[in-house]
Symmetry: C2
Subunit: 277 residues, 2 copies
C-alpha cells in the first residue's frame, strides 16, 4: 500500500473540552460516513469556557500532540473556546490540516442574515475573545454583531436539563437582549448549545435563523479532504474500528452521555493521561 | 531564631478546586487571626466534583507538592471532593499534619442531631464516595444518613446566583426528598454551599440544623496546632504577608470572587503552573 493510500485511510482527529464536540462528530459521521474518527474529550479539565487563553492553548496543544500519535490526517477543533483561543497558534505548529468551528459558523451566519444583524451566544471565553466579530467583520464590515455569554448553558446541558422550566428561565434571561436587538440570525457558538436548540428557538421566535456551526464544520472538512486528496473513498471494512473515543477522565459517564447523543453506539472510551503529551 | 520558632511562623496551606475553599479560609482567618495562610485554588481544572478518584487524587497531590515548596506547617484540604477521594493517600505521603473538611463536618453533625437522621448535600463525587457515611457510622452505627448530590449548586454559585428564583427552584428539587425524610441535621458537604445557606435554610425549615464544616474545620485546625505546639503566638508584624493566594488560572476572576467573600481585601493572586509539581 502506498503512503498516499495510507493517509486516505487515516482517521480524522476531533477534540473538545468534553462531550459538546460530539455534536460535531455526529455531523461528520452523517456527512462523511466513510471517514474514521478519533475523538478526544478533555473530561479531566472540562470546562474550558471560563478559563484563560494561556490555559486553553496549553490544553489544546497537548491534545493535538496526542492526536498526532494517532496518525490523524486532519484535525477538527470541535470546541468554540479552543477555536477562539488556540487555533491560530496550533495552525502554525501542526503539519496536518486543522480547522475550527468558528469560521464555518461565521460564514453560515453571513449567508443567512438579511438585515445584517447577527447574534452570537457562547461561553465567556469565546465572547471575550471577540473571534466571531473578527471573522464576520473581515468578510463584511457592515454587519452588526451582538454577543452574549451564557455560562450556565453548559452545566445545564451536562445535567441533562435539555428541556426544563429552569433552562427556559435561564435562557429567557440570557436571550432577552438578543430578542430586543432585532437580530435575524443567531450563531450557537458553543458545541453544547445545539442540545438546547428547541429552547432557544422558542424564545427567539420564527424570524430568527439558528446557525449550528457543527453542520458547516463537517461541510468544510469534506471540502478540505477533497481539495487535499485525503478523503477516504470507501467505508472501512469489517474489523476496522470506525470510531474511537478517548477521554482524560471518567470514561463511563462520557459513554453514557455519548450514547444519548450519537445514533452510533459507543462501545468504549479509553482514559489517557493527557498531561504527558 | 530556632527551628521551632520558624515553624511557628510558617503559614498554613489551604487548597480547593477553586473559590469554594475560601469559605474555609475565611473561618481560619476569623478563628486563628495570628496564622498566616497560603491558599491555592485550582482554577485551571475546576470543578473536581464530577471527576474520578484517580484524577482528583493526582491533582491534589500536585497541589500538596506545591504547598510543600511554600514551607507550610500544616495543610487543610478545603474541598470535600478532595477530602473524600485523596486525603487518605495524602496523609501517608505528607510530613506535615493534614486535615480535611469531612471529618469535622461529620463530628459536628453527630453532635447536632437528636433524631439520628442526618442529611448530606455535596457533589456527585463526594456522595458517591460514601465518605460521610463511613465517618458517621464509625462513631454511631445507629444513625441514618441520606445523601443527595446537587451538581448545579457549584455553577449557580460561581455565576453569583446566590439568591435567585432559579436557585430556589433547583434547590427545591434537590432538597424535597431530604425534607420528606425527616432529617433534623443537614451537612453542607461542599465548600461552595455555605453561600447558598439562606436558600437551603428556607427550604429545610427551622427544624433542621445546617452544619457548615468550614467552622468545625477551623476549630480542628486550632486544636491540632495547639497539640503540636505549632500555633503562631503573635500576629505577624507589618510588612509580613499574612495571606497569599495562588491559582492555576484566571487570577483576575479569582480576585473578584475572593473579594466578594472575604472581608480582608486580596491584593493579588498569582498564577502558577500546577502541572509542574
Amino acid at each position: 500500500m502506498s503512503e498516499q493510500e495510507e493517509w486516505h485511510n487515516s482517521p480524522v482527529g476531533v477534540f473538545d473540552s468534553g462531550v459538546g464536540g460530539l455534536t460535531v462528530a455526529r455531523e461528520i459521521m452523517r456527512q462523511l460516513p466513510n471517514e474514521r474518527i478519533v475523538y478526544f474529550g478533555d473530561t479531566a479539565r472540562v470546562p474550558y469556557g471560563s478559563k484563560s487563553r494561556e490555559t486553553v492553548t496549553k490544553f489544546s496543544r497537548q491534545i493535538v500532540h496526542f492526536l498526532e500519535t494517532q496518525k490523524v490526517k486532519a484535525i477538527v477543533v470541535a470546541c468554540n473556546t479552543a477555536s477562539a483561543y488556540a487555533l491560530e497558534d496550533l495552525e502554525k505548529e501542526v503539519e496536518v490540516p486543522i480547522i475550527g468551528v468558528v469560521q464555518p459558523g461565521a460564514i453560515a451566519a453571513l449567508a443567512a442574515t438579511r438585515n445584517k444583524k447577527i447574534g452570537v451566544i457562547a461561553t465567556e471565553a469565546t465572547i471575550n475573545s471577540g473571534i466571531y466579530n473578527r471573522y464576520i467583520e473581515k468578510s463584511d464590515s457592515g454587519v452588526k454583531i451582538i454577543g452574549k455569554a451564557c455560562p450556565l448553558f453548559v452545566p445545564l446541558v451536562e445535567e441533562g436539563l435539555w428541556e426544563d422550566p429552569v433552562t427556559d428561565e435561564i435562557a429567557g434571561r440570557y436571550l432577552t437582549e438578543l430578542v430586543d436587538s432585532g437580530i435575524d440570525t443567531l450563531i450557537l457558538g458553543c458545541t453544547h448549545y445545539p442540545m438546547l436548540r428547541s429552547t432557544v428557538a422558542k424564545i427567539m421566535g420564527n424570524g430568527v435563523t439558528l446557525v449550528n456551526p457543527a453542520y458547516e464544520t463537517a461541510r468544510e472538512l469534506k471540502t478540505l479532504l477533497l481539495e487535499k486528496g485525503l478523503e477516504s473513498e470507501h467505508r472501512p471494512g469489517l474489523g476496522t474500528e470506525l470510531y474511537r473515543f478517548f477521554v482524560s477522565d471518567a470514561a463511563d459517564k462520557f459513554q453514557r452521555f455519548a450514547n444519548s447523543i450519537l445514533t452510533y453506539g459507543i462501545l468504549s472510551a479509553k482514559v489517557i493521561n493527557i498531561d504527558e503529551f
